[in-house]
């Protein structure tokens, strides 16, 4: 009793003081951590704010009829966004048509067919593809792929098709990794059940696994589209940069186009800050922001938190 009190007697004040110091330090650190978490929301807000600040005037100063017109002649002060929207659309659709079947089949191979040792080689390779800078792929498209396409009979090698091929390869890692997650999430019992009643492996994949993974595959496609529509450098180098609406014929994909992203990258360097042209380029940025925001929010809503973490990591 006495020993006990003699030990504790001098300490309460000191302990309390020390405890308080820990308490204050802890309070500061915990709030800094919270702040870091909230800063992500703040940054998205700031990005939108600055785009609107610089790009908003374009939507106020340019008559709507001209804005949705088919002529993009900045030198004459004519800013019709339609050619750029169509350009982005053609290249993106082309890329998705190529990449989705390839990516999905590749994911099926990795998830359902490949033995473990192959998976351990193939997955890092696909991660490596995700790591190749877009400017390097653009460079190869420019010096290798474009001449090939021209030799195959196109008027020029720098076409929407060239861009679509490069973009397809760039969006493959996204599509493959998210589809593979979706396949992985299908319970093993489903496969066992199908195989047990005599289905072949292909019947199991086609009739059981794929339908069960449907929503995840839809997300993979959406994020692939988001990836393709926002790509800049490679597309700028290989699509020919013609800001006209291509003639809508069967050969539409073999004509040069200019995408929204390429327009910003190519023209921002030459405009006077504060000019209408400058505002309009930021305006295109707003359009891109809104499109990708819609795609990602929708995809994030479907998958919920677990998927949000995955997609964040993979994009």
């Amino acid at each position: 009793m006495t020993t006990n009190s003699s030990v504790t007697a001098p300490t309460p004040a000191a302990a309390q003081e020390k405890g308080q110091r820990i308490h204050i330090g802890e309070w500061i650190i915990e709030n800094l951590i919270r702040l870091a978490g909230l800063s992500t929301v703040l940054i998205v807000g700031l990005i939108f704010l600055f785009l609107v600040r610089e790009g908003g005037p374009a939507f106020l100063d340019i008559p709507l009829r001209q804005l949705f017109g088919s002529r993009w002649y900045p030198i004459e002060g004519i800013f019709g966004l339609l050619p750029l929207l169509v350009g982005s659309l053609i290249v993106t659709v082309g890329a998705v048509v190529i990449a989705v079947p390839l990516g999905l089949i590749c994911a099926i191979y990795l998830g359902e067919i490949a033995p473990t040792w192959q998976r351990e080689i193939l997955k890092p390779l696909i991660e490596m593809l995700a790591g190749i800078p877009s400017i390097v792929l653009g460079f190869l498209g420019w010096v290798v792929l474009a001449p090939l396409i021209q030799n195959a009979g196109a008027a020029t090698g720098l076409t929407a098709f060239t861009g679509a091929i490069i973009l397809a390869y760039m969006s493959l890692p996204t599509i493959i990794s998210i589809s593979e997650d979706a396949l992985y999430a299908v319970p093993k019992e489903y496969r066992d059940g199908a195989l047990a009643i005599g289905a072949t492996q292909w019947q199991t994949i086609w009739r059981v696994v794929l339908p069960a993974a449907r929503s995840g595959i839809v997300i993979a496609v959406m994020l692939g589209i988001g990836r393709a529509i926002g790509e800049t450098m490679a597309v700028m180098m290989v699509t020919g940069n013609a800001a006209n609406i291509p003639a809508l014929s069967s050969g539409v994909i073999f004509q040069p186009v200019r995408t929204m992203t390429a327009t910003i990258a190519a023209e921002m360097g030459e405009v006077a800050q504060g000019s209408l042209h400058y505002n309009t380029l930021f305006g295109i940025g707003i359009v891109l922001f809104v499109i990708t925001f819609a795609i990602n929010s929708l995809a994030g809503r479907i998958v919920g938190t677990r998927g949000a973490r995955r997609t964040g990591a993979k994009l």
């Binding site: 330090g25 802890e26 919270r34 870091a36 978490g37 909230l38 992500t40 929301v41 940054i43 998205v44 700031l46 990005i47 785009l51 079947p101 390839l102 089949i105 590749c106 099926i108 191979y109 067919i113 490949a114 193939l122 890092p124 390779l125 696909i126 991660e127 490596m128 995700a130 790591g131 800078p133 877009s134 400017i135 390097v136 792929l137 010096v143 493959i176 072949t200 492996q201 292909w202 994949i205 990836r227 926002g230 800049t232 450098m233 180098m237 992203t261 910003i264 990258a265 921002m268 360097g269 891109l288 922001f289 990708t292 990602n296 929010s297 994030g300 973490r309 964040g312 990591a313 994009l315």
Partner: protein, 281 residues
Amino acid sequence: MSRQQINRLATALITGVAILVVVPIVLVILFVIYNGIGTISWEFISAPPTNGMREGGIWPALLGTIFLTFGTAIISFPLAIGAAIYLSEYAADNRMTRMVRLAIVNLAGIPSIVYGLFGLGAFVLFMQFGTSILAGSLTLGILTLPVVISTAEEAIASVPQQFRTVSLSLGATRWQTIRHQVLPHALPGILTGIILGLGRAAGETAPILFTVAAFYLPDLPHSIFDQTMALPYHLYVISTQVPGMPLSIQYGTALVLLLIVLSLTLSATFVRTSMRRRREW
């Protein structure tokens, strides 16, 4: 055709397509190495470009990319680790947390050229940093946040719950538990995230177009308020903007860039696998 035959055919086709996807990846990398390796020399790495960039080396661009990568790390590291700790240790399952997660997904999806516009509007013009290493690092730092946050959060969340329980039961506070128990065990995973983020930053072109990259500079940058050349933009310039550019220099530049980015990506993968092997739980 019997269903067994269909099965064999489908399996063969799937395997064929998988090969079709993977082989070009290897070919692309080998192709750049094959065409670029002859150009790589100590002089190519350490000398500035001469004769309108048609001769000489890439030193100013390489150094610029190194500066930018370090700048990115300084900006992105504290914020990303903080956000990752918040998400895995503090965030309750409420609206605020869902908003943070939604924000991260969206940050990951914003096109890199839009980051470039933001950097121009916010850092170059509004905060008057000018076209500078500072503005470029800030832009790239924000661009890399989602990758670093997601990877680091996964690493922190994978530390077993018992570690925290034991530490808390011994009287440690929440922060002490995180600082001395959780973070040390999550370190390799966090490191993976940071390296992946830096790999991304080193290879990006669009975000630095209007925020830092210079076409050609005779001098190296003196401070963080100077412009600098950067390797990805230099590759763009010499392959599309300079007439009569020898292909060998273009391939050499592409190879150096590819090696920097891929070695970062590969070392991230290496850290992750060796961590999984060493893990004691």
